[in-house]
Symmetry: C2
Subunit: 296 residues, 2 copies
């Protein structure tokens, strides 16, 4: 049983296999300067775990839709994620030279190109959502959901790197606010988009959304723990970096033990959120379990 | 008569008066960290001419819609324009310290905040388009139009600052490609969005679009001429800067006389594009005439 928790679930592996070649293919479908295409492609084809697009595909299936319906929405979410990584890595922000063992885009292609390739991925995501595959009503919901999640993600990055949190928040609540915005919002959005693509009922969409918010916050706490404890070659960047950079982390704020408790409690809450979906949500339950126990 | 050409037309002044306070008001409607709101507000309330949102309002009226219907689309376009100015000014791109006589955002609030405030304005624009004011079908068209124009704008900025133009293009055609993408696409988009908000017929939408493309290219050539010949206090930045920076300009490529001819010819073509709209398009004709003759 322990093995099954540590191994990525089949549904994730299948979703990644489906989505991986399509990320580049969709990028190719846009009319772009060759140098800009190269930079965007470098940013997107980056060895990422593809957690977000996989969630979009899985959530679409879980509510009864065909996975194929969710492909463009899944790619849109991953484009937004990749844009955020490129800009976060910039010298003026996190100043990272390495991501997943490869030079970051501004090291590879220069800072101007990194700014502009990030800028490009954002409208491409919205173009994908409005390419005619979805009904007008779906498009409207998809765009609203993705746009507000992107706003929150940017706000979270501001909180994380430049401050600005409401002063009345405790250290833990402040950190939760950062994580909810910076990471949770887009993961939750990935789930919701899948539900919209699969034409989920309101009750199911609500369940999916709650699952996404909870599992999204959990994802970031696990990331904090991996950053602190993980092996450098697994993480693909120097570990302990966040703490060294003075960034607020869960283990740094409430301790490792408490952070592990928080993960456990969020994992259970995410599972509970899925109850309206019954057995249909089994793939999401397994995924959530793996997310809680992943070590990379 | 000469006076009327040199003075901004009443329709523009009215549109600017309507839109100016709403730019800030819409920004306030989003839940944002205070520091991020301040930076975005600095970027948006910037003394801009508001040509794009004014065009959106005017085009909506010209096709028979009420101006109020086009307000959110107009603000969305201006948010995209402001985002592009903030990122273009960054040290790694154009490295401008002054815009319209004020320190640029990265001078005022730091480079990290300038990157992130620019990043923010983009999703806000799409959130505005999907706020429920428009029908789902309108939203779909609005989003597709704005997203593809933003993609082209970024591509144009890449051409302008980092190269990547197809090699077979002549110097003049290459320059036209830069201007069409970098400036023309968003101005044309501003017009088209107005047409969509006003539920224009296909024929009228096509006319509006063609007008936008033509007047958008003309706008940038006039900008090049102003940069070369204008008085510094009018332009709000050092003039001759583009030429000094080795940027390709129309007067630098085909000469001042030829550039003036191009303006004249584009002004006429834009006017011709409006013919399906008959007398209803008078405000756009006057606007176009003013655009061709403006000195700031």
């Amino acid at each position: 049983m322990k093995q099954s928790i540590k191994t990525p679930p089949t549904a994730l592996l299948e979703a990644v296999e489906l989505i991986e070649p399509l990320l580049q293919k969709r990028l190719e479908s846009f009319d772009l300067p060759a140098n800009l295409y190269d930079a965007a492609s470098y940013a997107v084809v980056n060895g990422g775990k593809r957690v977000r697009p996989a969630l979009t595909l899985m959530c679409c299936e879980v509510v009864g839709g065909s996975r194929d319906l969710a492909i463009d929405a899944a790619i849109a979410v991953e484009f937004i994620h990749c844009f955020s990584l490129v800009h976060d890595d910039l010298p003026s922000i996190d100043n990272d030279e390495l991501r997943r063992g490869k030079p970051t885009l501004h090291i590879h292609a220069g800072e101007a190109m990194a700014v502009l390739a990030g800028d490009l991925l954002l409208p491409l995501a919205f173009e994908l959502l409005s390419n005619g595959q979805y009904t007008a009503t779906q498009q409207s919901k998809l765009v609203r959901t993705l746009a507000s999640a992107t706003r929150k993600m940017v706000a979270g990055q501001v909180y994380d790197t430049l401050g600005g949190l409401p002063e009345h928040l405790s250290a833990e609540d402040g950190l939760k606010e950062i994580h909810k915005n910076k990471t949770g919002a887009l993961i939750s959005c990935a789930c919701t988009l899948g539900g919209i693509c699969g034409k989920a009922s309101d009750a199911h969409l609500k369940a999916i959304q709650e699952f996404g918010e909870t599992t999204g916050l959990m994802f970031q706490i696990v990331d904090d723990l991996i950053d602190l404890q993980g092996e450098s070659e697994h993480v693909g960047k120097a570990t302990g970096k966040d703490a060294d950079a003075g960034k607020k982390t869960y283990p740094g704020t409430i301790g490792v033990e408490e952070s592990l408790c928080a993960v456990q409690s969020l994992q259970k809450r995410a599972e509970e959120a899925l109850s309206p979906l019954g057995n249909d949500a089994e793939t999401l339950r397994l995924f959530n379990l793996w997310m809680a126990h992943r070590t990379r």
